[in-house]
Amino acid sequence: MRTSMAVAPPTAKWDARPRQRSRLLGKAARSTRERTGVHLSHAETIQPSRRDFLFLATGAVAAVGAASVVWPLIDQMNPDAGTLALSSIEVDLSPIAEGQIVTVKWRGGPVFVRHRTKKEIETAEATPLSELKDPQTDQERVQKPEWLIVVGVCTHLGCVPLGHEGQYEGWKCPCHGSVYDTSGRIRQGPAPLNLAVPEYKFLTPTRVKIG
């Protein structure tokens, strides 16, 4: 039928798809372009290639417009400027005593900052990898061995584990019994992964920026 058209032409009158009355002008313009082959009589014989180019150009321009309109509607759901401003926090480490775990709020959830004792560090470093469900050495998980900073969200279904609990003296999750050690690694229970280590940086030996 209309083989001169740039897109697959409709083969019969019925093939025209329903017109969408939406603000996505691109879609509507494209479907018009496909459908117009049905009704043109004189115009088609005059200059088919110019007509095709016009429809193609219009459809392309409209598609670009539709995409530019859609992006803000999607981006508005992304974290806003206020939330992004709170995406990193600074923690003063000096008041945290040895052996103490402090919970800080970061990005809406808990982060455990643990000032580890020598014994806790030794136990963590000495654990053989074969015992671990999610093998990671302690050195991989800390920047300074006396400071363990992990996200306080159980990797099973998201509850907050309780500190100084469980036979490894790490954490134990009250929801389904996952047990973590002094490096925050999963040792027992249904959780699949170790407690996550967030991005952090020591600004001074007693001040750390998380996130």
Binding site: L25, H42, A43, R51, L54, G65, A81, G82, A85
Partner: protein
């Protein structure tokens, strides 16, 4: 034709009546004159140096009584004052802000500000009631001042404003008020304030603020700069809006032309 003539005559009569009415009011309550603003018009942009000077005026003069409920981090806006991250951090830390949550002992406490915090209220007036008690009337929060103040444009100016893109009514108003204290003996008499009796006594004097970039410290300059700063504070997204708007309208005009050609092409066989 007679219909058209009659209706045109009627419209003209209304126009003349309206204009005459407006002129009579003008004399005793002058309207704020229009100023030139760098951010006016389709290609308008804020002048960074001006906004920084305006912020200095706000900080040294206005902030003693007025709140400005914007976050410190917004001062980093590259389309706005454009301060650096370090400058804003230092600025924020120089303020004491009330913490959201009480401390572990249950006490509400104050701490140095961070960029994520909002400017705290003036130290002397933590809330509107305290301000009203001390000053008679609570000074308004300045964050939307440039958008919440207006004066009657009158007919037919409000029609022209659509085409001339006049959006700076608030900025002109603020400048006019700040430079309108023309009765030296009465610091609360203002030429442009409706009714002339304004609760705020003249806040600016020549030389009150020392500019560091060489701009002369006159009341006119202070007023211009702080009005520009407040215009930014009321609408920090203005520059982004105009940039996107220009592209959007050009695009829509191009698309309209194309659509018109498509329409003509399709209707060619129907006429």
């Amino acid at each position: 034709m007679m219909t058209r003539l009659k209706t045109s005559l009627l419209a003209f009569a209304l126009l003349v009546a309206g204009a005459g009415f407006a002129a009579a009011q003008e004399a005793d309550q002058p309207k704020p004159p229009r100023q030139e603003w760098s951010f006016h018009g389709v290609f308008g942009r804020f002048d960074q140096a001006q906004l920084q000077r305006g912020f200095q005026v706000y900080r040294e003069v206005c902030s003693n009584c007025h709140r400005l409920s914007i976050a410190f981090r917004t001062l980093e806006d590259p389309d706005g004052p454009g301060y650096s991250e370090a400058q804003v951090k230092t600025l924020a830390a120089s303020y004491q802000v009330t913490n959201d949550e009480p401390n572990d002992q249950g006490k509400i406490f104050q701490r140095p500000g961070t960029p994520a915090d909002v400017f705290p209220p003036p130290e002397a007036f933590p809330n509107d009631q305290a301000a009203a008690a001390a000053l008679g009337k609570a000074p308004p929060d300045m964050w939307l001042l440039a958008k919440s103040r207006k004066y009657e444009r009158g007919f037919p100016w409000f029609i022209f404003d659509i085409f001339t893109d006049y959006q700076e009514i608030g900025s002109d108003y603020i400048y006019a008020i700040l430079t309108g204290y023309t009765h030296k003996d009465d610091p609360q008499w203002n030429l442009y304030y409706p009714g002339h009796k304004i609760a705020m006594p003249a806040p600016l004097q020549d030389g009150a603020v020392k500019y560091t970039d060489g701009t002369p410290g006159t009341v006119q300059n202070y007023a211009k700069d702080v009005a520009a700063f407040l215009s930014w504070a009321a609408e920090p997204t203005m520059v982004e809006r105009k940039k996107i708007g220009f592209r959007a309208i050009v695009f829509l005009i191009v698309l309209s032309v194309l659509m018109y050609l498509v329409k003509r092409r399709i209707w060619a066989d129907a006429h």
